[in-house]
């Protein structure tokens, strides 16, 4: 994969630092990002902030799937999010805390020579 040139990319860690199907938090330009390495070595990134609790915990949720979408379930109140799009798939009857939407922000990720890079805004 080649990194797009128009955005800034931050090297975060080596691919082998990430455990398949278990998230890890990273600090990217002062923001908390949750990284998920899937079984096929794809790496996806969403915000670490859980909009339904206001705590920075999403990397600690259980990774799974709904239909064909890879998902994470919040460890706090169990909302399920699509890791690729950030869409909240199941709010389990709750609403996000004030000032937050239910869907997650996502970041582009690229793995170059075993290094995991997270892309900034283009």
């Amino acid at each position: 994969m080649t990194a797009a040139t128009s955005r800034t990319w931050t090297a975060v860690c080596r691919l082998e630092d990430l455990v398949p199907e278990r998230g890890a938090a990273a600090l990217v330009e002062g923001e908390q990002v949750a990284l998920f390495r899937l079984l096929d070595d794809r790496v996806l990134a969403v915000q670490q902030l859980d909009p339904f609790s206001g705590a920075y915990v999403l990397a600690r949720g259980i990774v799974g799937s709904r239909g064909t979408a890879a998902t994470v379930a919040s460890p706090m109140y169990k909302q399920v999010f699509d890791l690729a799009t950030g869409t909240c798939l199941d709010a389990v009857g709750r609403t996000p805390v004030d000032g937050h939407g239910a869907d997650l922000r996502t970041w582009p990720v690229s793995v170059v020579d075993g290094t995991v890079l997270v892309g900034g805004p283009s």
């Binding site: 278990r22 938090a25 609790s53 705590a55 920075y56 259980i62 799974g64 709904r66 890879a70 460890p75």
Partner: protein, 920 residues
């Protein structure tokens, strides 16, 4: 014993006011709002119709409660308002469950009726107020407030007498001495308990109790005395126990069983006198045969007398042996006056059971609302469990029907007596007596008056005996299944077929079946399942969109096949058509993790298993609302040394943690950040602590009192047992968290009966109770077995827990599991104590393997650098604290800052890590 489950009630035959009718009348709050008083049904009222009518109920007992509830249910327009005068100082309570008061239940637990019922503007309850006179001509009652002496008169349009009975005091010399009690109200049992405790403290020996009367009530009182730690002797005038319910053979079997439980029985004995001791308290009983008995407490349980004094004074006809005479509509000679419950003399007799009273209440409500219901007649079927002895009696138990055949099976060694009464062609069931094993009662009782399919002899044998099982009976739709709430088999079936209920909770809510005493639940469940199967509704027991099996099935599959990774399990047991890339979810993954944990497969963080864990299990701490964790080291049995306490205190101080004592008798430390956890645990492990598993769906704690080592009253060493049990079951993964408790005597200071497994010391060993829990629906544990020695106790708890671990649903606590599992509590008892499924050896081996394989998860984690790598706060900044965490000081400790406090720049919050933590 303390847990005497009196699930006995009578069964009125089919009535016009069954569950169905009831449901049809039930108020729909959306459509029929309750009108405010006075405004009543004004809107709907026709010209010339009277204003809201006034019903006065005298007596605030069980039947009065049912009447008010039924009226408010069926009179949505509010054509009646009701005033209840209750002499006792409390709202109506469950008298049938009175004895549970001795097992530590709060009187408030016995309360009947939701708070909303008593707050209903059309319901006016006056407690502590006695009606002293009825003026039928003026249609008024005179009420007298006991505490203030205030007297009022109140006009009625209809009057219901629901005054119940009072305990009869036999004309024995000395029946009024201090230390002699009756057994009818909460105040009676509270006084009795106080007395026995006071005597226990006074004399350095077991308290000696006697019960006069060997009927249902007397045996219950004897059990209660035993539960209080007193010895008890039942003195029966006649030749057998429970003469109204069981025949001679049954009475003899019952006597033997009760005797074996440590209650002495004297038959054919008449008490002539109770003599006082030097202190003026009851001290000795003299009998007509010249015998005597030294006593410290006497309970009189010789019968009840209907409280018909108001009716007599108002010149209403009373029965030969008392009771207000009523017709089949429960109406007295005065068309404005009705009588229900124990005070009503119907068909020439008063009935001392609650279910017929409930039926009468429904009849009167129906009549008040213009209906034509009649009392269906009462059958006096009874089932009860006294000190773990099963007794049931139903229908024509004494074979009075001409030509009736009696089919008897008696096994004196096993203490069993079973009798069926059949019609002369041996086909129709007329009645029966079951002593020692009443498990056939639930299926037999609804068959009363109907043809029994198959060989009736099969019902006589204990369940599981012989090669042939009990015949499968098909209950007719009109057979009453739940006699407490009068719900028929048809109603239960309709709940499934017409109302779409698919589980027991739904059926209970829809029909009320099994919501009172619960003895019919196994039968209700069976009916429901059959109906679901018949309707072709496959009740999906699939765990989630990925796994086809239920948790119990999955457990067996994993146990038997030896599959040990999630990928293998998903490949084998994934739902058909599952996307090959599917990877499970937050439902099936933790279930598999728990099953592997129960089976003792490796460490929680080994290999792929680590990906299955909830964050709590993954970092072995409890996630808190701000994303920090709490840490709980194990303190078995709640014991901790001073050095241990100091070590915990130092850790909490050095890491800036908030500390609190938990309900499980240990210390919880809050505010630990993920990257601090290994450092905290290094210190704790070095100080000799291990994981407390506060994070796991596993054993939490074994709460205990100090027991006989320190306590003046203790009869066994409860702490030592608690420590032993906690070390035995620590780390055992289960469908839900579970707790144990051990008390050193019947005073129950450890609140063991609020636990999944509660153990209470007795003079002879341990009583074990199961299925208690707090949480959303608090439950008291029910008696599983009595007077076990320590080895038998441990084996019993081993099997109970393993059986639960294997067969419960995901997140199902022990109480609902016991309700749902095959055979209910009796079924569990059979599996655990009698090995009815032949799996006991297997359960024992599984528990032995667990005990053998236990290792502290935290010590193992600290020893493995790969595992420690999981505790980085950020993959690119492993020791940087989460910058969002913020705390403020409160009562000398930290707590998370509120959003407002964070926003308030004028009041700086402590940012964890920068000021609080000590890092190595």
């Amino acid at each position: 014993m303390g847990d005497d489950l009196i699930d006995g009630v009578t069964e009125p035959k089919h009535t016009e006011t069954t569950g169905e009718t009831r449901a049809a009348y039930r108020r729909d709050p959306e459509v029929d709002p309750v009108p405010a008083p006075g405004t009543g049904a004004l809107g709907a009222r026709q010209e010339g119709e009277p204003v809201t009518k006034h019903l006065v109920v005298v007596g605030g007992g069980m039947v009065a409660h049912r009447l008010v509830e039924a009226l408010r249910d069926r009179d949505p327009a509010g054509t009646w308002r009701v005033t209840v005068y209750a002499e006792e100082p409390r709202a109506p309570y469950d008298r049938v469950a009175l004895t549970s008061y001795f097992s530590g239940r709060d009187p408030a637990d016995l309360a009947l009726g939701s708070p909303e019922l008593w707050a209903d503007p059309l319901v006016d309850l006056h407690r502590d107020t006695r009606v002293t006179a009825v003026d039928r001509a003026a249609r008024t009652v005179t009420a007298h407030r006991n505490d203030t002496g205030h007297v009022t008169t109140d006009h009625y349009d209809a009057l219901v007498l629901a005054t119940g009975s009072s305990a009869a005091v036999p004309p024995i010399d000395g029946a009024d001495l201090p230390g002699v009690f009756v057994y009818r109200t909460v105040d009676d049992v509270a006084a009795l308990r106080g007395w026995v405790q006071q005597q226990a403290e006074r004399w350095a020996r077991p308290v000696r109790g006697a019960v006069v009367g060997g009927g249902l009530l007397g045996l219950e009182a004897a059990g209660a005395l035993q539960a209080l730690g007193a010895a008890s002797t039942v003195i029966q005038y006649g030749p057998r126990l429970m003469p109204l319910q069981v025949d001679e053979g049954g009475g003899e079997a019952l006597r033997r069983l009760i005797n074996a439980k440590g209650v002495a029985v004297r038959l054919n004995t008449s008490t002539t006198r109770i003599r006082p001791g030097r202190d003026g308290n009851a001290r000795r009983m003299d009998f007509a045969d010249g015998g005597r008995l030294d006593v410290d407490v006497v309970v009189l349980a010789t019968g009840v007398r209907p409280r018909d004094e108001l009716a007599r004074a108002a010149d209403l006809p009373v029965g030969e042996r008392g009771g207000v005479v009523v017709d089949e509509a429960c109406r007295t000679a005065d068309p404005h006056v009705w009588a229900v419950g124990e005070v009503a003399c119907i068909d020439g007799a008063c009935i001392g059971l609650v279910a017929p009273g409930y039926a009468m209440a429904e009849v009167v409500v129906d009549r008040l609302l213009g209906g034509a219901a009649v009392f269906p007649g009462a059958d006096t079927a009874t089932k009860l469990k006294l000190s773990g002895v099963d007794v049931a009696s139903f229908g024509d138990a004494f074979a009075h029907t001409p030509g009736a055949l009696e089919l008897v099976h008696a096994d004196p060694v096993a203490g069993l007596y079973t009798k069926l009464v059949l019609s002369d062609d041996a086909a129709t069931l007329l009645g029966g007596v079951l002593v020692g094993d009443a498990s056939a009662y639930a299926s037999l009782r609804p068959m009363l008056g109907r043809r029994l399919e198959g060989d009736p002899g099969a019902y006589l044998l204990p369940e599981g005996a012989g090669a042939v099982g009990r015949p499968q009976t098909t209950l007719p739709d009109d057979a009453a299944v739940c006699s407490c709430n009068n719900v028929t088999a048809g109603t239960v079936r309709a709940a499934v077929t017409e109302h779409g209920c698919t589980d027991l909770a739904g059926v209970k809510a829809c029909t009320r079946a099994g919501t009172s005493c619960g003895s019919c639940l196994p039968l209700v469940k069976k009916l429901m399942t059959t109906e679901l199967e018949r309707a072709g509704v496959t009740v999906s027991t699939a765990l989630c969109e990925h796994v086809e099996l239920s948790r119990a099935q999955l457990f067996d599959a994993v146990r038997v096949t030896g599959l040990r990774t999630f990928s293998e399990i998903l490949a084998k047991h994934g739902r058909p058509g599952l996307d090959p890339a599917a990877r499970g979810c937050d439902i099936c993954k933790p279930v598999v993790a728990s099953i592997l944990g129960s089976l003792g497969v490796g460490h929680v963080l080994d290999g792929e298993t680590a990906t299955l864990q909830d964050t709590n299990d993954h970092v072995m701490a409890n996630l808190q609302k701000d994303g920090s964790y709490s840490v709980v080291p194990r303190m078995p049995g709640g014991e901790v040394t001073p050095e241990g306490l100091i070590a915990v205190g130092e850790v909490a101080r050095d890491f800036g943690l908030y500390t609190k004592i938990t309900g499980g008798q240990r210390i919880d430390m809050f505010g630990a950040r993920i990257e601090q956890l290994p450092h905290i645990w290094r210190r704790l492990v070095d100080a000799g602590f291990e994981s407390g598993h506060a994070y796991g769906k596993s054993l939490r704690t074994v709460k205990s009192c100090v027991g006989s080592t320190w306590c003046r009253f203790g009869v066994q060493d409860s702490t030592a047992l608690a420590v032993e049990l906690e070390l035995r079951y620590r780390g055992l993964r289960a469908p839900h968290k579970f707790k144990l408790g051990v008390s050193g005597c019947a005073r129950e200071c450890a609140e063991a009966r609020a636990k999944d497994v509660g153990i209470i010391a007795t003079d002879k060993g341990w009583n074990v109770y199961v299925g208690g829990n707090g949480g959303f629906t608090p439950r008291h544990a029910q008696l599983l077995a009595e007077d076990l020695d320590t080895a038998t106790l441990i084996r019993t708890v081993d099997r109970f827990l393993m059986y639960y671990v294997r067969t419960a649903d995901r997140l199902q606590r022990t109480a609902p599991w016991i309700e749902e599992v095959e055979g209910g509590l009796d079924g569990v008892r059979a599996v655990v104590l009698e090995d009815s499924l032949g799996i006991a050896a297997d359960l024992d081996a599984a528990m032995a393997a667990h005990v053998e394989g236990y290792a502290d998860e935290w010590a193992a984690t600290l020893a493995d650098p790969h595992k420690l790598a999981r505790f980085a706060s950020f993959v690119n900044a492993p020791t940087t604290p989460d910058p969002s965490l913020a705390y403020v000081a409160e009562r000398g400790q930290v707590r998370p800052a509120t959003p407002a406090e964070r926003a308030d720049a004028a009041r700086p919050v402590l940012v964890a890590g920068t000021t609080l933590a000590v890092r190595r």
